[in-house]
Symmetry: C2
Subunit: 227 residues, 2 copies
């Protein structure tokens, strides 16, 4: 078997799950990596594992004992309430985990180098840019440069590794449309910031997901299950 | 008390221990961070904890469950023998852990952002450049850019955080000379790639350390203890 092509960062949410289906549809041998970094619940990671099992994609789950460093984010600090409202509101800044994507991409890149994969892909999309600096195109370039420079013996002959974000110009509705065409099983995803039995339907992540399904005139299968 | 000034990456070896003493000598309130990332032994991390206790520097030890991703390095893979010989030989490339410094610096940067420290410091030095791409000045610039771009809401008003390597132009002998002047207790350091009771005296790291002490006409207190 040839080397894996791409290491896909898979949170288990709508975007990254669609990304994994997309990469698998255009190239052989993607692998996926998920992280437990102190999130208040593990429902997304469990969803990621289910999707990988369904797609027969090799999957690593990495435990990062960094929650204690990341006080102040609603995603890792139980003292900070999960904000409700629209995803792009300034209140959503409370969901920022400092330097998260750089940490996760750095580890994914280590694995990629180790198994000779040529790409690390993550699902940053256009809706993220306003609130997450580490989802912007500028960051993508900078993090790629750091990985290449940091791992090339000879800078005139750099390692062939790139960090890519194929959805960086897409809206969540675009991603969902693509995913529906690819046959993504969205029952095996988790988006809600809270880790209850059913999605809360009120947090920014739930609202953004619901909008995308509405735009396509579809029902979210995860919400149907919860009725 | 004011915010911590600098997050120091502290492996517990000669270089980073000297760096912590150095930073503490020129500014108030450094803090230190060490990692267990699948090294075959934990003697360096234990040394780091002892130095921080002695200096009364706040210290975090972070467990990173990434050893399984990093096959092929003598520092994390028990199937790869620890190379003997001189530190700058090409055999020392077997001690490279893919993307290690970017992973560790990314996490240190997350902590720095969280506690409003303005610098992340690590002990890359001139002797490292030949074999570790992630100890070169070019990498330092790239990783700083990635952190700043990835965490600044407004790129016209970037966050005041830099990754620095004060020893990047120094040899190990220079570092040791500085450390001796600063009163570093080198008994509380560990350098050997092996984790036995006493340093092996034969691996590249031991040889490089011994050379530095020889250059200064000094005895390594760690070797005296082992006699």
């Amino acid at each position: 078997m040839s080397n894996p092509s791409t290491v896909v960062l898979l949170s288990g949410g709508l975007d990254s799950t669609t990304l994994l289906y997309y990469v698998k549809s255009i190239e052989d041998g993607p692998v996926a990596i998920s992280f437990r970094y102190g999130q208040l619940h593990s429902k997304e990671v469990e969803a990621a594992a289910k999707t990988c099992a369904f797609l027969q994609v090799p999957h690593k789950i990495i435990n990062l004992d960094i929650g204690a460093l990341l006080k102040g984010s609603a995603l890792t600090d139980p003292l900070v309430p999960v904000p409700q409202g629209h995803y792009e509101d300034s209140t959503m800044r409370q969901t920022v985990v400092p330097n998260r994507n750089m940490i996760l991409l750095s580890i994914a890149a280590a694995w990629a180098i180790s198994i000779k994969a040529r790409k690390v892909a993550y699902a940053a999309h256009a809706g993220d840019h306003a609130i997450y600096p580490d989802c912007r195109p500028e960051f993508l370039d900078k993090v790629t440069e750091a990985v290449v420079v940091g791992n090339s013996w000879d800078l005139d002959n750099p390692i062939p590794l790139r960090v890519v974000a194929p959805f960086i110009k897409l809206t969540k509705t675009d991603i969902l449309r693509l995913g529906v065409n690819l046959g993504v099983d969205y029952r095996l995803t988790w988006t809600c910031y809270k880790g209850e039995v059913h999605p809360c339907g009120r947090c920014g992540a739930c609202n953004e997901r619901a909008e995308a399904f509405e735009h396509l005139g579809m029902k979210d299968p995860l919400m149907e299950v919860s009725v």
